[in-house]
Symmetry: C2
Subunit: 254 residues, 2 copies
C-alpha cells in the first residue's frame, strides 16, 4: 500500500531543493549582470553568509559545475524552440535551426558559454568526467536531432571496420551525450559523425566567442555558415545546403 499522505520528498527535502534552485537563480543573475560568479556574491544575493553555501556545495568548483549544468539545460530549451519553428518533418532544417541558435546564444552569452564549454572537465575523478561528457543537455539535443535526420534520410555512415580501432571502441561503448543503446552495432558509425559534427560546431563557435577571429567575420557569421555548409554533405545534406544557408541567415539576421 502506498501511504497517500506521504509526499515523494519530505518537507526538508523540498526546502533543500528550493534552496538549490535559488542558488542557481542567484548565480545566473550574477552572470547576467556581468558580475563575477563567487560564493560570497551568491550568498549575499540570497541573504545569507558564504559558509552557509557549503551546506549545498562542497567547493566553488562544484558551484560552477552545478550552475553550468543548469545553464546548459536552460539553453537547450531555446535550441529546441528554434527547431520547433520549422515543420516536424524538416529534420535538416530543425537541426540547422538548433545549431544556429546555439551559436547565437553563445555569442550573446559568452560568459555562460565559457562556463559550460570552456571549463576544463575534471581529470581527477573519472566518474565525474563521464557524467560531464554524457549528461550535457545541449549535446543530447543536438545528437538527437542528428539521429532523427539519419533515421529519416538514411545517409551513409562509416562502417565499423573502416574506423580506426580507438574510434570503433568509442562508438561501441560510447561516452558522449547521445542515446545510442538502441542503435545497432553496425550503425554505430553514426556516433563518429556526431563527434565530428560537434567538433566542427564547437570549433567555430568557440573561436567566435573568444574573439580569435576577424571581428567582421564574427559579425557576419560567414565562418559559421561556411563550417555548417562544409559539414552538411557528410550527413546527406549536399543538396540542401542553399536552403539550409537561408535558414541560418534568417536566424543570424533576426
Amino acid at each position: 500500500m502506498t501511504q497517500v499522505g506521504t509526499p515523494a520528498q519530505s518537507r526538508r527535502e523540498r526546502q533543500r531543493e528550493a534552496t538549490y534552485d535559488e542558488i542557481v537563480a542567484a548565480s545566473r543573475d550574477l552572470l547576467a549582470e556581468g558580475a563575477e560568479l563567487s560564493l560570497r556574491a551568491v550568498a549575499t544575493k540570497m541573504g545569507l553568509t558564504a559558509p552557509a553555501l557549503y551546506r549545498y556545495v562542497a567547493s566553488y568548483q562544484e558551484l560552477v559545475d552545478l550552475v553550468a549544468f543548469e545553464i546548459d539545460k536552460a539553453a537547450t530549451l531555446t535550441f529546441a524552440a528554434a527547431a520547433d519553428a520549422l515543420p516536424e518533418d524538416d529534420f535538416a532544417g530543425r537541426l540547422v535551426a538548433s545549431v544556429t541558435e546555439f551559436r547565437m546564444w553563445a555569442l550573446a552569452n559568452p560568459r555562460e558559454f565559457g562556463l559550460v564549454f570552456a571549463n576544463p572537465v575534471a581529470d581527477a575523478s573519472c566518474l565525474r568526467r563521464e557524467e560531464m561528457l554524457t549528461l550535457a543537455s545541449s549535446g543530447r539535443h543536438m545528437t538527437g536531432q542528428m539521429r532523427a535526420l539519419w533515421e529519416h534520410n538514411h545517409h551513409p555512415i562509416p562502417a565499423l571496420d573502416e574506423l580506426p580501432p580507438s574510434v570503433r571502441e568509442a562508438v561501441l561503448d560510447p561516452v558522449i551525450p547521445a542515446k545510442l543503446d538502441d542503435i545497432a552495432p553496425e550503425d554505430r558509425g553514426l556516433a563518429w559523425l556526431f563527434m565530428q559534427g560537434w567538433t566542427v560546431l564547437y570549433g567555430v563557435v568557440a573561436l567566435e566567442v573568444f574573439g580569435h577571429m576577424d571581428p567582421r567575420i564574427i559579425a557576419s557569421g560567414e565562418m559559421f555558415i561556411e563550417a555548417v555548409r562544409g559539414f552538411a554533405p557528410r550527413i546527406g545534406l549536399a543538396d540542401d545546403v542553399d536552403r539550409l544557408e537561408a535558414i541560418m541567415r534568417a536566424r543570424i539576421a533576426g
Copy 2:
C-alpha cells in the same frame, strides 16, 4: 658617424628589459610547476613585492597578455622545428608537421594553451584587439606555411567575387596574423582559406585540450587526424592525405 660607445639602449633601458624577461621567466616557471599565475607569486619568485610589478605591467590582465604573447612566441619555435624535420621542398609535409606539433604542444601544456588561445581578447580598446589578432607568432607561422604551399602547388582559391561581402572586406583589409600585403587582390581568397584552416585546427585542439570529447579519441588523436584530412583537399592536398596522415601518426606516437 655612429658613436661606437653608445649602445642602442641606455643602461636603464637594458635593465628594465631584463626585468621584463625575468617576469616572463618567473611566470612560465609558475605555470610549468602547475601553480596559478598571480602577480604576488611572480613577484615573490623574483624576490620582490607585488606592488613593484606595477612598474612593469598596469594590471594582472596585462601580465597575462605579456606572458601569453611570449609563450606563443616560444612555442612557435617548436612548431618551426617540427617543420624543419622535413625537406625544404615538402611544403605540405612541413605544414602538417607544424600543425601536429601545435596539437601536441597544446595537449602537453593545456594551461599555456588556455592562456594564449582561450583568453577572451579585449573588446574594449580596438587597437589592442588588432594587435592580439595580427601579432600572434604561431598564427603567422602557420599562415606562412600555408602561403608557401600555395606558392608551390597553386591550389585553387576562392575568387573575390564569389566571397560574401564581409569576407571580401576582411581579406582585402586583413586583420589576421599573416603577411598578405604582397598578395595581389585577386589572390586574397587565400586569406579566407587561412581563416578556415585556423578554424578547423583551433576547433579540434581546443575540444581536446578542454576534454569535451571521449578520452579515448583524445588519446589516439583520431579526431585531429580526421579534421586535417578533411581540410587538406581545400588546399590542393587531396592526393597527399595518406602520406600526410603518416606524418601525423608518427608525430602523435613519438
